[in-house]
Symmetry: C2
Subunit: 162 residues, 2 copies
DNA sequence: GCTTTCTTACTCGGATACCTACTGTCCGAGTGGAATAGG
DNA sequence: CCTATTCCACTCGGACAGTAGGTATCCGAGTAAGAAAGC
């Protein structure tokens, strides 16, 4: 089981956008340069965040992305769901009904099997923990020096062409 | 993010083996037939459970697998870790150090970034929930009729050739 | 009838192809900004 | 000097290949059971 790398990118970009709030939209090119990531692929992931309503995109010259909501109202769960999707990692394929369980009465399968329930319970705990943490919490736990340096870097790298 | 299908197979097989405890080892062929799964691939996964010390394998004629420990001492986490591996789903690649963060003093990177910490915390909750549930708990939540029918099926399907 | 030997069929175990999904890249549509020409 | 227009460069957005990891399969080594032969 492996989470898409785009989740890390999306989270870091959201934090960066929070630090740069009030300075206008930030383009994919600058964000990609900030983390040395492939620009086109990062853009693909940022689009997913836009579709999820986490970011808002501005087209045209000097366009880019910005946070659609204040960081306090963006949970890590929102970002993960936007990029990874909302499906559970564990997917019950109901193999209990195959073979030895084929002749069981349908009534017995009204309730999901205990394995599915247990796995879902664990994933629910995971989701709950992600939903409890917001971008604002992450930012609060980050030294101000990091935010300051990031802001300085983006201010100095204002040249569009790179 | 998608969990390997083998986790579901492994869990169901472990529960089945618990129900068949005391009736000698169960071969891959019979377990595969019980769930209509590809035999060779299921065997590959069962081998992983053996390596993890969850199952014990008996070679030779009338050989097969059995639980290495009582179900009370086998957590869902054990099975998941045996098949999926122990690595975290979220893997921090330290992109904060790239680009805009390249010139930061190394001292600032002594602590992991807040994003990594937050994601790890969520996965820890997931692991904790999985570790808290044992095979015995799953079995306790399953109707006895299911276990009985499974035992009957394996008793009637005793012919090795199928 | 009992013991020993041999055969045999079944088992596990690892090495080998296939296929989906994530990763990475490219090009086109659309838009805001800036330069420019006119009033 | 101010305004309307035109052009343009930059942006997002979706469509197109490459690659890693999971899925599926096959074949060989090893072992216990069972049959057969000898005592």
């Amino acid at each position: 089981m492996r989470m898409s790398e785009g989740v890390e990118w999306g989270l870091h970009c959201c934090v960066t956008l929070a630090w740069l709030e009030g300075e206008g939209p930030v383009s994919t090119a600058r964000l990609a340069a900030s983390f040395e990531l492939p620009q086109a692929y990062l853009n693909k992931r940022l689009q997913a965040l836009v579709r999820a309503g986490i970011l808002s995109s501005t087209p045209g010259a000097r366009g880019g992305f910005r946070l659609a909501r204040p960081p306090e109202r963006i949970s890590l769960m929102d970002v993960v769901a936007a990029i990874e999707g909302t499906e559970d990692a564990f997917r019950c394929t109901e193999i209990r009904r195959k073979g030895s369980g084929a002749e069981a009465p349908d009534r017995e399968y009204g309730r999901p099997c205990g394995i599915s329930t247990a796995m879902r319970k664990a994933e629910l705990a995971w989701r709950r923990e992600l939903a409890a943490q917001t971008l604002a919490d992450v930012i609060a736990g980050t030294p101000a020096a990091v935010a300051d340096r990031t802001r300085r870097w983006f201010a100095s790298e204002r040249t569009p062409g790179g």
